[in-house]
Amino acid sequence: MAVIPLERKPLSFAERTYLPAIASGLKTTLKHLFAPNITMEYPEQRPAIPPGYRGVPTLVKDPHGREKCVSCQLCEFVCPPKAIRITPGEIPADAPERAHVEKGPQAFDIDMLRCIYCGLCQEVCPEEAIFLQNQYSMTGYTREEMVNHKDRLYELGGTLPDEHFKWDKKLDAEKHGNAH
């Protein structure tokens, strides 16, 4: 519970001959030689990814297959390296699938050369539409290839099980007459 000076003992005669250090070093090496391997054959074997991993950002659809993003542009705003670019688009009121929202992204680009995988976009998204999922390696030959466009983002994202059913609840509330 205090400051402790570290002791330094001079080397003994035996230690000055280098031999004990060599012997103990070899002992350590031999021990590790017969220990199980800790490396893995990477492309064939892949490490297990824990839940909540922050991989490549993707866009997801809800269990009805509808687009979740309403292009509020909050992720574009919060993104520290400014990797996200959204062009908002109107959704016509008579569109059967998406009658509950007025807007959706016309274009949604994430520049993976800028993205730093910080996960702030996922954290702020009020629709749970953008998720950093398990993929951790991306390659491309050109800069253009490294920009993920909307269709690619949905392809990477797929459908995630919804936990909150925001719009179903809203619809229910509307039917029972206590909507906002």
Partner: protein, 410 residues
């Protein structure tokens, strides 16, 4: 443009003793991409034979203007940038930054959040010192140490990955809390890591501590006296190696460090070997702190619940309630609301004292953010201690100072 440091010159010192014949001095540049400069440090050296007569560190190759970047974004957006200061221990930087901003608004985070931050900061310290020792080993010709140290760091990275979602750039803290609670059973796994780590640490240190080759390279090399260490503003293991027992975790406790029992190791001579010994012992002490923190790991909230204008509301509330949705938009677009004022907070990071000086004129963006980087101050002693030493000793000295250029150049 090389900086001119007028430091005592070994050749000038020996001017009284008349040389047999006049030799010409040679200038040699080490770095910016040299394996033993640990990053993009360049040393402009002047040699008299094998002896250094002058050593100018040339820095700035990794300058990104982090301080200016901070002025253009909200407080939470800057958290990922703190990862990239001392990128060997991002969790400790995240914590120092978060506490600095919280001091500005006089916000107390709950005990659970403090304990999480202490555990992660100490794990970051172990990880940083393991790399420091491993790289120091390579510099002095001991490859094995690096390999075994990295095996342990991999285990730590697995734990970081589980907690924060990223192995390296963790971005874990937020102003007023942390980004997520600890996962189920995580503290148990950290405890298990600590238990198996101690014998392995002994094994790693045994490869160097009594090894004559290593001692020949480090004992009485790069001696920093107590007075010099204080005068040059050295901090962290480099200062403690010179026998000054300054450790902010003890002297100015923050984040609940006062509850934990640990010792502050100090060296006696201030040479490279002492700095090595200090780092070895600090890892043992970090394990002690982690075990204590886990033993009395508090329950409750992991973010400041009452700080409604600072910490974003829970996700399910954002999705279902209009008020929380608006609040979320406000915190993201305007930033967490801070009062006007200024605050300086420094934390004991693995490399030394990392300070954040935040000036706020109110609102969600800092007006000025100054970072006091320990590696920058620690490097300032190079022109002093390298003069008069051999070129091969410079490699030992650089390894023992254990700096990170991401933080030095910021």
């Amino acid at each position: 443009m090389a900086t001119d440091f007028s430091f005592p010159d070994a050749a000038a010192k020996s001017a009284a003793a008349k040389p047999d014949f006049e030799t010409e001095k040679m200038s040699l540049s080490m770095g910016p991409s040299h394996p033993s400069t640990h990053g993009v440090l360049r040393l402009q050296m002047e040699l008299d034979g094998e002896i250094l007569t002058k050593c100018d560190p040339v820095i700035g190759y990794l300058h990104r203007g982090d301080e200016k970047i901070a002025e253009n974004m909200t407080y939470n957006q800057f958290v990922p940038y703190t990862d990239r200061l001392d990128y060997i221990a991002p969790l400790a930087n995240n914590m120092a930054y978060a506490i600095a901003v919280e001091r500005l608004v006089k916000l107390e985070v709950p005990a659970r959040c403090q304990a999480i931050r202490v555990i992660t900061a100490e794990m970051a310290r172990i990880s940083a010192h393991l790399l420091g020792l491993g790289a120091f080993g390579i510099d002095t010709g001991a490859w094995t140490v690096f390999m075994y140290a990295f095996e342990e760091r991999e285990k730590l990275y697995k734990l970081f990955e589980e907690l924060t979602g990223a192995r390296f750039t963790t971005s874990y803290t937020r102003i007023g809390g942390v980004s997520r609670d600890v996962p189920e059973g995580w503290t148990g796994r950290v405890n298990a890591f600590c238990d198996q780590f101690l014998p392995i640490l002994e094994e790693i240190l045994a490869l160097l501590t009594r090894n004559k080759i290593f001692m020949d390279r480090t004992v009485d090399v790069g001696v920093i006296s107590k007075a010099d260490a204080i005068a040059y503003g050295l901090t962290g293991p480099n200062l403690r190696g010179s026998g000054v027992g300054l450790d902010l975790r003890k002297d100015k406790p923050y984040s609940g460090y006062e509850q934990y029992e640990f010792d502050v190791p100090v060296g006696t001579k201030g040479d490279c070997y002492d700095r090595y010994l200090v780092r070895g012992e600090e890892m043992r002490q970090s394990v002690r702190i982690i075990k204590q923190a886990i033993a009395k790991f508090p329950g409750g909230d992991w973010y400041a619940k009452d700080a409604r204008k600072i910490f974003a509301p829970p996700k399910d509330k954002i999705l279902t309630s209009m008020e929380e949705l608006i609040q979320n938009f406000m915190i993201v677009t305007e930033g967490p609301q801070m009062p006007a004022g200024e605050v300086y907070f420094e934390a004991e990071n693995p490399k030394g004292i990392l300070g954040f000086y935040v000036v706020s004129k109110g609102g969600g963006v800092p007006w000025r953010l100054k970072i006091r980087a320990p590696s920058f101050c620690n490097l300032s002693i190079l022109p002093k201690i390298c003069v008069g030493s051999l070129v091969s000793d410079v490699v030992s000295i650089l390894g023992s100072l254990d700096f990170v250029m991401g933080e030095c150049d910021r």
